[in-house]
């Protein structure tokens, strides 16, 4: 009779937090999710293009690995996304929601551009490059530390603050471009002060980003700072209790974020584009990087994989869009599907779905083997507790 009473309370489906999943299980699940996302992208594409799945996959692979330049581009674009992801990571690990990487990178780039505009060609390039780099770092750091100070001193909402700073950065860049090219069409190009090539145009940047990624990984894993910011992220009260100066940690971490964003801006302006533009210079990397960092569980080494996958999907589907004349939005939709499935997989790694019938079945089975009814109630109760 008790079982009947339970029936009324039992929801059709509910979520139960999983205990720690085995590493190989989670890897398998994520790989499965990636393949599933490709499969869904393939199905959607087949419906749009009216070509088979084979066409989707061969074009996808051709778009990414088809030529030597495309392979270099894959790693180059990955590096440019990865450096921004590395930059936002310490803040996110500290649960400081820094949505402002886009602006911090842009300001870094703007500082670099300012040096190139006023000093380019007037001084030795070897002296100019360090000046550009340092000013980019300072610029990025200033842009990141302003919201950090407000957060530390007056506990302002950092999400809104950093987001707002993005728009200020874009407007400031637009203003500077108009100042430099009063009768131009919205882009400034710099002839002088560009980062020299090493091997080819991509290698230097890839090396720099790889080095920064490893350093950031070590910083978060082994340094006292890394430990402190993790504690602040887990619980501010615990941090205070064990004598961590929370305000100092927040400000210090955001300066670090800003510096790396500044370097990213430097690489984009001086090393890649040789120009600056309100939106096309950073091109949304500041936002994509947040997802990249998040999906990698804030581990810089995993981020190499997540950023590589994002660029893989983007470039591969870009090739399909070109050959089939599908327009700009197609790649965005495919990347959206990819993110959706991957995030969903994260959800299933953390939670398990329990259906009503399976619970009742279990309960029934339990009731058959162990006669006393009250025990059923406790079992269900336990589950509810876990759910909370």
């Amino acid at each position: 009779m008790k079982a009947k009473a339970n029936k009324a309370h039992e929801p059709f489906v509910r979520l139960v937090k999983r205990k720690e999943m085995k590493v190989w299980q989670s890897i398998l699940l994520r790989a499965g999710a990636f393949l599933l996302s490709l499969l869904i992208c393939g199905i959607v594409s087949s419906l749009i293009t009216r070509k088979g799945m084979g066409y989707f996959f061969t074009t996808l692979v051709d778009g990414v690995f088809g030529t030597k330049r495309r392979i270099w581009n894959l790693f180059h674009e990955t590096a440019l996304l990865l450096i921004v992801a590395v930059a936002v990571t310490p803040a996110f690990k500290m649960r400081f929601w820094n949505i402002g990487a886009e602006g911090q990178v842009l300001i870094g780039g703007l500082c670099c551009a300012t040096c190139m505009f006023y000093l380019g060609g007037k001084m030795n390039i070897y002296a100019l490059i360090p000046i550009m780099l340092v000013s980019s770092m300072v610029g990025g750091a200033i842009w990141a530390v302003i919201p950090a100070i407000f957060k530390a001193k007056w506990n302002t909402n950092e999400t809104l603050f950093t987001l707002m700073m993005n728009y200020i950065a874009a407007c400031l860049t637009g203003f500077m471009i108009t100042t430099w090219a009063p009768r131009g069409s919205g882009v400034v190009y710099f002839e002088k002060g560009n980062l020299p090539k090493v091997g080819n145009e991509f290698l230097l940047k890839i090396i720099v980003v790889a080095a920064l990624t490893v350093i950031m990984w070590a910083y978060l894993k082994f340094s006292k700072h890394g430990y402190e910011l993790t504690v602040v992220g887990e619980s501010e009260r615990t941090a205070k209790y064990i004598g961590i100066n929370v305000k100092k940690v927040i400000i210090r971490t955001l300066i670090l974020c800003g510096i790396i964003c500044g370097i990213a801006g430097f690489l984009l302006v001086s090393g890649t584009n040789q120009s600056i533009h309100k939106t096309d210079t950073v091109a949304g990397r500041g936002f994509t990087a947040i997802l990249v960092s998040w999906l990698a569980h804030f581990n810089p080494l995993y981020m190499t994989v997540t950023s590589l996958l994002v660029i893989f999907i983007d470039q591969g589907t870009g090739q399909i869009a070109t050959l089939q004349g599908l327009g700009n939005s197609y790649s965005d939709i495919m990347t959206g599907i990819f993110f959706f499935i991957i995030i969903a997989s994260e959800f299933f790694i953390n939670y398990k779905v329990v259906f009503k019938f399976s619970v009742l079945k279990k309960a029934k089975k339990f009731a058959e083997t162990v006669p006393p009814a009250p025990e059923i109630e406790t079992e269900v109760k336990e589950k509810e507790e876990v759910e909370e």
């Binding site: 131009g184 069409s185 020299p196 230097l204 091109a283 050959l323 327009g327 700009n328």
Partner: protein, 414 residues
């Protein structure tokens, strides 16, 4: 402090890499000089592949105009093409151009002004491939034999559209909707850039040629494609007393705003008659198909000396007037346009005849324009010859950048 240590390491590492880079990269400079002696051999039609680089996709009227023209020309010649859309004015443009070369394209065409530097860089790297760039300004000074600029005397098209606009203004005055001294038009521009100013001035001069009291207010948006900003600018102009709107920006923002307010609209690049039947009056367009055909002919015949500054005209079919919407246009518009068009082609009418405009109340007898591109926008060339401002004579891209009397810029921050 550990923080400092980490910082120092990071800095030192980057500087070290940077320095190594600097010293190893010194000998790259010389390669670029090789490109000076470029010759092209004839290429069979079936071996030609066109690569088209577009800033936006078909949703932008500007880019759609290029894609349509390329499709038309390619179909006519039976030439294959690859269209790359959404290519930013950044390194992405250079990478895309190189990728198109890798895919076997032997003509690469980019459609946006900001693409120029990246296309030029690719042209220097691949001397056996022809690179053409619309609206660009650097070919005649760079003299890179496989890099060409092209544009059209669209100011003539704008002038003709302006004539239709002036006639519409006259009709509204005659109908008693407003008096002759209230005859004001509005114009939505992207940037205070010569191409835009040349276009809006020729449009105004066209209208003034039939409606002498007309004036014009101009609002700039600071973007080539911003649906919201263009719509808002058009609405603000209408609310400010403008009786007719035209635009030089690429979205449907201004046409839609005009349709809502039932204000006549003169378009650029595409006819909006289907979507905005109650406001669309007329429009002008650059037809790029003749230029693509010219490039194909040059490639097939192995012409090395391709025009550095190709200017399409009414005669080449590059400057077109779009359909006239009889529901909006004044009576007799088509006949008048045909008449003025004939006079433009015969040279009887010159759009920028200095007899027709003044600057700050004074007659214009000399004008130095910024023809050769430099960072400081230095005026360098006398462009008034025998009383006419000779637009697109010294280079294909427009260089008329003066503000003439009768036109008011409401904002110039862009």
């Amino acid at each position: 402090m550990k923080m400092k240590k980490v910082l120092v390491i990071v800095l030192a590492l980057i500087l070290a890499i940077g320095c190594i880079a600097c010293f190893t990269a010194c000998n790259n400079e010389e390669e670029a000089q090789e490109a000076a002696k470029i010759t092209f051999a004839p290429v069979a039609k079936e071996n030609i592949k066109l690569g088209l680089i577009c800033l936006h996709d078909e949703n932008s009227t500007y880019d759609k105009n290029f894609i349509d023209a390329a499709t038309e020309a390619c179909t006519k010649y039976g030439i294959t093409k690859i269209v790359k859309t959404g290519i930013a004015e950044s390194d992405q443009c250079y990478q895309t151009a190189c990728d198109l070369v890798d895919q076997g394209c032997n003509i690469i065409f980019a459609d946006s002004f900001g693409h120029e530097q990246y296309i030029l860089k690719a042209a220097k790297e691949y001397p056996s491939v022809r690179f053409a760039h619309a609206t660009g300004t650097m070919a005649h000074t760079e003299l890179q034999a496989n890099f060409y600029n092209a544009f059209a005397s669209i100011y003539e098209g704008r002038y003709l559209a302006g004539v239709a606009a002036g006639m519409k203004m006259n009709e509204m005055i005659a109908a008693g909707k407003f008096t002759a001294d209230q005859a004001k038009m509005g114009y939505v521009g992207a940037y205070t850039y010569a191409e835009v100013i040349s276009g809006l001035t020729s449009f105004y001069l066209g209208a003034k040629s039939v409606c002498p009291t007309v004036t014009m207010d101009v609002k700039f948006t600071g973007s080539w494609y911003d649906q919201t900003a263009e719509g808002e600018a058009a609405t603000a102009l209408i609310n400010g007393g403008c009786k007719l709107i035209s635009q030089h920006a690429d979205s449907m923002g201004a046409p839609n705003a005009c349709e809502v307010k039932k204000v006549p609209n003169v378009t650029y690049n595409i006819s909006t008659k289907a979507a905005c039947g109650e406001s669309y009056l007329i429009g002008s367009r650059i037809n790029w198909a003749p230029y693509f055909e010219y490039l194909f002919d040059c490639t097939i015949n192995g012409v090395t000396a391709v025009d550095f500054d190709w200017v399409g005209t009414l005669a080449t079919g590059s400057v077109e007037i779009l359909e006239i919407n009889d529901a909006v246009a004044a009576a007799g518009t088509a006949d008048k346009i045909a008449e003025v068009k004939a006079k433009l082609m015969s040279g009887e009418i010159k759009v920028f005849d200095t007899a027709n405009f003044k600057i700050s109340g004074k007659d214009v007898t000399t004008y130095l324009a910024d023809v050769d591109t430099d960072a400081a926008f230095t005026p360098d060339t006398q462009v008034i010859l025998k009383g006419v401002f000779e637009e697109s004579l010294y280079r294909s891209a427009p260089y008329f950048d003066a503000t003439i009397d009768g036109i008011t810029f409401l904002n110039t921050a862009f």
